[in-house]
Structures are given as C-alpha cells and as structure tokens.
Symmetry: C2
Amino acid sequence: MITRLSRLFLRTLRDDPADAEVPSHKLLVRAGYVRRVAPGVYSWLPLGLRTLRKIEDVVRQEMDATGAQEISLPALLPREPYETTNRWTEYGPGLFRLKDRKGGDYLLGPTHEELFALTVKGEYNSYKDLPVTLYQIQTKYRDEERPRAGILRGREFVMKDSYSFDLDDDGLTNSYATHRKAYQAIFERLGVEYVIVAATSGAMGGSASEEFLAASPVGEDTYVRCVESGYAANVEAVVTPAPAPLPIDGQAAAVDYDTPNTPTIATLVDWANEAKVLDRTVTAADTLKNVMVKLRHPDGKTEILGIGVPGDREVDDKRLGAAVEPAEVELLTEADFAANPFLVKGYIGPKGLAANGIRYLVDPRVVDGTAWITGADVQGKHVVGLVAGRDFTPDGTIEAAEVRDGDPSPDGAGPLVSARGIEIGHIFQLGRKYTDAFDVDVLGENGKPVRLTMGSYGIGVSRMVAVIAEQQHDEKGLRWPAEVAPFDVHVVIANKDAAARDGAEHVVAGLDAEGLEVLFDDRTASPGVKFKDAELLGMPWILVIGRGWAEGKVELRNRFTGEAEEIPAEDAVSAVTAKVRG
Amino acid sequence: MITRLSRLFLRTLRDDPADAEVPSHKLLVRAGYVRRVAPGVYSWLPLGLRTLRKIEDVVRQEMDATGAQEISLPALLPREPYETTNRWTEYGPGLFRLKDRKGGDYLLGPTHEELFALTVKGEYNSYKDLPVTLYQIQTKYRDEERPRAGILRGREFVMKDSYSFDLDDDGLTNSYATHRKAYQAIFERLGVEYVIVAATSGAMGGSASEEFLAASPVGEDTYVRCVESGYAANVEAVVTPAPAPLPIDGQAAAVDYDTPNTPTIATLVDWANEAKVLDRTVTAADTLKNVMVKLRHPDGKTEILGIGVPGDREVDDKRLGAAVEPAEVELLTEADFAANPFLVKGYIGPKGLAANGIRYLVDPRVVDGTAWITGADVQGKHVVGLVAGRDFTPDGTIEAAEVRDGDPSPDGAGPLVSARGIEIGHIFQLGRKYTDAFDVDVLGENGKPVRLTMGSYGIGVSRMVAVIAEQQHDEKGLRWPAEVAPFDVHVVIANKDAAARDGAEHVVAGLDAEGLEVLFDDRTASPGVKFKDAELLGMPWILVIGRGWAEGKVELRNRFTGEAEEIPAEDAVSAVTAKVRG
C-alpha cells in the first residue's frame, strides 16, 4: 500500500500548540495525528487513526488468543441498570447524562460492568456455558474534571474492556491471571515500559486489583516500589505498616499549655523545643495534625470528617480521595467553621471532635500508647502527652497521609522509592458485586443455581497512542515501534532529477509489491523540509533517494538509532523489506 | 480460523421476539446476532459484530479505492458549529443534546457536515491541496420518534459518512459521480437489490441529491418508477407535471350554492351531480379540497397554512413534510379553529383564506384557468366555477398531494408505478451551504480566495445488516452472501462415532489451513437441532459430517439454493475451498 504525501490529508505544524504541555500532545498535534474539537475531545486524522487501529489490532489479537470473544455494546445506555448498582449516582459529575425525546434518562457508558452482567444473564443459563470472557473495543465517555494532555486524558476515548464470568473463585483467579498475562504480552508488543502495581478498586468495587502503569514523568499516577522485594503499588494502594502498640501504663498525664501564635506545625515545634516540654528534641513527627474535610456522599448528604496524621506528613489528596470513595472530598467553608465553633483553626484536637460527635480517623501510625502534641480545642492552647487509647480513641484508621521515598515497604523488605506513571491498564477481581445486583445465576452441575463471579479488565487504547509517543519520542519528533507505526517505511525523494524520481517510483512499487505499507514523500518541497517532516512523523525506517542515486546509492535511516547506511539502489527493496520484517 | 459452537457466546431462540414485526428483526434476534438494550439501541453479539465488520470492510475498500481518506471525528460534539448552521435548532427533538459538568452544551453527532468543513478549513489553505474527500465509519445518534424493526431504524447506529471538497462545480460533479459509482460497487458486492432515486435534500440543504433504496416490502420509503424511461424518485421528490394554463376569457362566473350537509368531497360530488351544476358528470377531481395545517418553524413560531389539492387526492404526509422542511407539520386544534372563525370546517375556500391573510399553496395541477367546486367559507355553502387566476390567486404551489400509480412521469415518458424501499445510501451535492457558514476558503491559483464546494455521502452500515437479512432470508432463517457471512462455512457433526468426530476435526483443521473462517458445530446436540441452527444462522455453505462418514462421504449444502451434494470425504477440504472461493 502506497500513500503519497502530496495527497495525504496532513499538514504538519512548525510550532507547538498553545494548549499543549506534554511532549506527546505537542508532537501528535504538530505531526497532524490528532486535532482538538473540544476539551478532551479529539479528531483522529489519517496517521493518528492508522496508529490507533494498529494498537487495536494488537489488543484484539492477544484477547482473541486468550479465547475471549468480541462483542459490541452501545455507548448510549439506559439509566436503570446503573441505578440498580447505584453507579448512576456514585459516578457523580464524571458521568455524561442525557434525556431522550420522551424524557427517559440515559448515560454515555464510562465502563460496562452492568451491561455485560445483563448480557451474560440474557444468554446463558447452565454451568456448561461457563467460563466465558467477553470484550469490546469501544468509544467511552467520562466527563473528566480536568481533561489534559491531549488524548492522554480525554473525555471521549477508546478502551478495550473485557469481563470474565466464572462459576467459582478459582475460576476468577484463572481468568484474572489469563488477563494479566495477555496484558503483559500486549504491552510487550507495543514496546511500552511499564510496571504492574497493586491498586485500589475504587468505584468499581471488588477485592483484588492491579494497575499497569507506563513509566513517564508526565504521568498522573504516583507509584512506589521496593527494590529489595519487587513490591509495587499505586500510592493510593500503599498500606502503611502499623507499628506495635506501646504500653500506656506509666505514661505521664496529658498537660495543656498556653501556646500563643502556634497555628502551624512549624511554630508549634519551635514552641515545644523552647518550652522543653519533652526531655528530648521535639520534631514534627511528635505532633498530631488534625485536618478537617467535608465529605459529600453519593446520596448528596455531607459530613465533616477529622483526619489525624503525624505532623511531619501532609494529607495526600489522591490517597484521601481513594480512601473515602465513593464520597467526594470538599474543603470546609468559612460558613462550616462558623456553624461549628468548636473547630478552632490551628488548635483542633481529638477531644473536641469526639465531644461534638465528629467522626475522627487517624493514620495507622497513631497506635495505642503513642503520645502526641496536638490541639487543645481552644485558641492559643495545645496539649502535650495526649495518649492514643487513653486520652482519645479514634473511630478508625485511614490511608490518607502521603507516602514518602524511604518509607518502609509494607512487606518489610526495605524502603520504598516513588516514580510517576500513566495508567494504561487496570484489572479487577470484582467478585459478585454486579452478579448479585442482577441475580446472574446459572444452573449448577448439582441442579442448584450458582451465582457467577466476575472480573473486569481495561486497557486505554487511544491513550496508548499518547503513551507510546511519550515514551519513544526524541527532540526531533515521534518514533513508532514497528507494531504500531502507521507505515512501515517513509520514502523521501531528495533529488529533482527525473531519473531519480522514476527510480523512487520504481522502488516504492517494489516495496508495495512486498506487502509493505509505504508513506511516500513525493512532494516538490526541499530536502530539508522533507527530512524534518520524516523525523516528526516518526516511521521506524526512512529511505532517502537523494544525490547518491546517480551513483546507484540510496540511504536507509533508522529513526530510533539515528543510524544511516548507504545501500546499493538495486538492493533497496530487499534491504528495506528485511529490516521491516526484522 | 475455527470457532466452536460449543464455546461461542450464542444462544439461538426458538420463538420470535415479542417486539419484532419484520423478518430481519425476528431472525437477527433469534439467531443471536443482536440484542436490544433500549428502544433503537442494540448490542452486537459475536456473529452480528462479524457481519457488521465485513460490511464495514467492503465499504472501506471501495471508499479507499476512490482515493477518499479515512479519519475519525468525535461523536460528542460542541454546540457552536451546529449553532452556526442553525442545525442545533433545526434538528428539533431528533438531536440528542446534553450538558457537560460545566454546563457547556453538547450533542451526539447525527451527521458531521459542520465538523468536516471545519476540519478541512483547519488543515488546508491552497488550491493545490484540493480536491479532497474524507470519510469515517462511525457510531451516530438520532433520537428517532419511532425507532423500529430492530437495527433497521436505530437511535445508535453505524454509518459511513464522507465529504468531498472541491474548488468548483465541475469538481463537485466529479466527486458526486465518483461516490455514486463507489456506492453501486458496494451494494453490488453486498448483494443488495436496490434502485437509485431522485430525492429531496431536506435539512441537509444543497441542490441535487439521490437516494439508494433497497427494494423491500417493509421499507419506510415509497418510490416511483417509470418503466418506459427508467425515471425513479422517492415520492417526496416527485415533481408533478403542471398542465398548460387554460384561457380565462369566456368562462362562466362563479356561483355560490346552498349545499347543506356536504362537509366531505363524496357528499359534495353527489350534490353537484344531483343539482347538475355542470353540463357533465362531476368527479372528485373537479373539486378543490382545502386542507389546513399548522407549521411549527425552527424559531418556534407557528403559522396556519392552507393547502389546496384536487379533491380526488389526499395530502401525503411525507411529501408535505419534505415540502415544508425545516418547519414541522402539526394538526390544527379546536382552539385554532375557535380563534379563526373564518375557518368553517368542510366549507373552507380560497377566498376566505386570502381575505384573512392565510398563506395558501396549491397543487401544481391548479393552474390558471382551471375552474373548481370548492368551499364558500360559509357553513353549508359551496362555490361552483371558481377560476384560478381570476377568482383567486394562490401564494404558490406545493408538492403535497399523493402520487398514485398511473400518474404521468415528470419526464412525460409514461405512467409511474410505486414500490417500497429502505434507504441505504444518500448522496448530496451540498454546494456551499456549509463552506459559506464557516468561510472555508483556500488561496486560488490566481492568488484570490476560493470558497470550496462540498458534497456529503452516507451509507447506513449497521442498517445494511438488516437490509441484507431482509432481502436474503427464507422461512428457515438467515442467508448471508459470501462477502458478509460471519463465517465462510458451517461444519456440522451429525454423527456420534469417535471416528467421525476425529474426521471432522481433521476436515476443520484442513479448512482452517486453507485460510477459511470456519464455524464448527462440535456440540453434542441432536442432528435436527444442529441443522435447524445452521439454517437459522445462515452461513452460505453447510458441510455435514454425518452417517455417510463410514462410507467416506460428507454432504455439502448450499444455503441459498438448498441443494445438497455428496462428496468424498477426502475431497471435503478442496471442494469446500473451491466453493467458497467461487
């Protein structure tokens, strides 16, 4: 197949688009792969669409190889099934909702657990039919609060989502393992550098889940690894190892102090060391910081929640968000403080919260017997030696404190180090959350109904275009691995002689006859412009028919290594074909 | 590729679904190709999806062969461009509209003229870039008032839409002709029996347009043909040949008569013949029937309109609808009559309408000099000999009267005959409606800007699955032409012997090795069940490995002709391959 640049619907841009911050976004726009239509909503131009389809094909092949079956469900979905699982509400403003002409409620599918559960229920009724895994490659919709980075986080995007249905837990474990392996094969073929990390299940529900993260400094996800043990987890999923409780007996009684002008942890620590309230140097880790947030529950009700973390740590918004899902976190307003005068800013303590019926959750490090310097619920007063389990009893723990490099790995094997990544896949052992909601049973071998157990597995297919661009680009432009490149080879004529042009046509026809997909720059532009475009567009091989033609030479460039080699013109077709076939 | 029925996600149904009226709907549901999710919203199960993809591939190949380039625009679209062309309003309740979390207005694309015009404007700026044709195969959304017949008229459906951009009218004519030819090639390959008919352009705008209609008794479109000349048109597009005007001079003056109890044409004709008001027998064609409708214009304003048609013809709702687009037709309410007392039901005449400023459009047969028996605007009174051009002057003509078999063809070649069809394609010469709206100019050869001219061309891809099913099925089930069949051959084991089963596995592996797509009924069900399913599912060839196996015989059945032939088992692979490659 030959595509001529002179006719290709493509205009490359010299300058980065004004709204682009990350390299993949800049390059995919400059190279004419995608165009913005609305925030988080993009068009795919010919080169972009070809890349997207190649990724789809890889995903499809590997899914088919597992025995999964492709189907296609609507994107426009009725409200009822999502009402049944409460996700119509729980999804909050992230769900695109609409009404039809008769006033019926619909949504644009963000993920399809409900519909796949109903689909299996509709067709199957015997244990003999199981297990089954179904998948689709489909356009999905999420009304992201902050669509960003072009197609990296869009509001309309292409996803492969699959769903496994099994008779029992072992079956689910197998289906999950099969997907995990297939995903590894897919990302391997796509040439993506990635890690698999433990994850939280969030709004999806279910027990176990893991994320596939592509390593990238522009990633929105932070994950941590323990080099010693190989443990890896999304920060949201990191479980803080709780120290052993300390004996309470024999600890000094708590004492209130006047601590004027100490509304911050830093000023409090300074005061404590000046006042020598402990027989050692006080650090921020000796203080207990109480952070107040307002939770908005799916039913619309709000709740003020107190969170206690060691004063040397910030609350991590994403960990907090994951910990309270499906509730959403909001900041307290001045009106909230006015309505709750016991919340004395800068001096809030556990006792005041307890006395006023505010739920109070603490970092897992706040175990019984630990003594803290914390607020005394009075302006300008703190308490020293407030002992957990004696002077206050939290309502539970919460994983909300930041995870820091050097923190101990939950498996005890060594310190954690953090890095950033882009979520490219997520696999869930959902269990029976959705099959319970819709009574998805089949008749078991013993004649009794069996409730099916379900897994859900997703890959961001359109996002993958950006991820590969992000990981593989260089300062000159895009660089596509062979599996996903829109064309196998980019042939550039850099010679105005009629003989060279004829020769190029001949070579291109030869490559086409070999079954290669050829992008042919037959334009009359200058060689400099053509080389720049070839580097920007990023095909893995660039064949230059230039000044050497008269001496029977052409040049083959490797876009990844930058290496160029002269080859005899008469060998051009066979040499390029050999390189492409690798 | 081998797909085993024992593992295929499929359950065939013995009974027709309760909501299905047309054969394709019944069969596609019974054969497990599609499942209903909401009115006009369907899931594609494995066999349906395979068929859909094969149709997509045929369409894609033929579009690519024309030089058209595939891109993919979003389905979720911002309001602004559709506001610019007024289609945000004109589309009325047929458009799915929604708001995002920030209150921004969006729609689900029903067709993409606006976005393609903007896309070309964004990339191209020189005459050298033109012509260009872009297309997409994409999910589209229309909130049909009456979704019907399964996927035949859905609210979420797959369409191929393409858009040509040319520098001048000749270019558009060429692009239009290219599409017309490509569509013929596509429908030919898909084995669809179709006609090309003149059509109205409707809400799309533009000058010329033609529809491709698949012949089908369940079609919603009525078209007429002239056998003599080959003229064919959608009834909405039929132009009534106007007779020559008659001389007015010498015609008798109009006379009012008391005509009690003649509110209908039939009673009026009876009265006229009894009263001998003409010196010949009066027929309904001598009367002028005045039909009142209320138009709702896109801006929300309403207008009462009078339509005069010869009394022997009804007003055709579809022709009327097409004639007044983008206004919508409503019935007058009792309140409307009460508010306009000059509208005397059963006795409305042209003079009363004129006197009260009501717009009055007449059938093209109502030419100057024709004399009519019509209402006198008074209860129980009619006027005889009311002459057009003398006693009343209509505000114009309207194509609203029904077209009947035997009516003269507009080209004068002979009578028209009517038939029903399903719209499968529509091609439009849009002209500059959209390029004017968005100032889509390029720099011309002479350095001056050139406004591009545009064509728009659509094929209902998912609808095609139903159309083929509709045209090709028989009483036993579906029958797929080779190009679109989900599998090339359906192999049935109808023999429990281990040797036969092994033999079937061997044959199936052989067919797979030949590159055939094989559906393999390896279930333990009875031969009767398997044969019924094979006929229902509709692969073009059915290979039965049955009782003859022991004698070295297998049976090959042609699903279209019903013919069965015994072939030696050892030739099964080569014989089937030869048939499939046909």
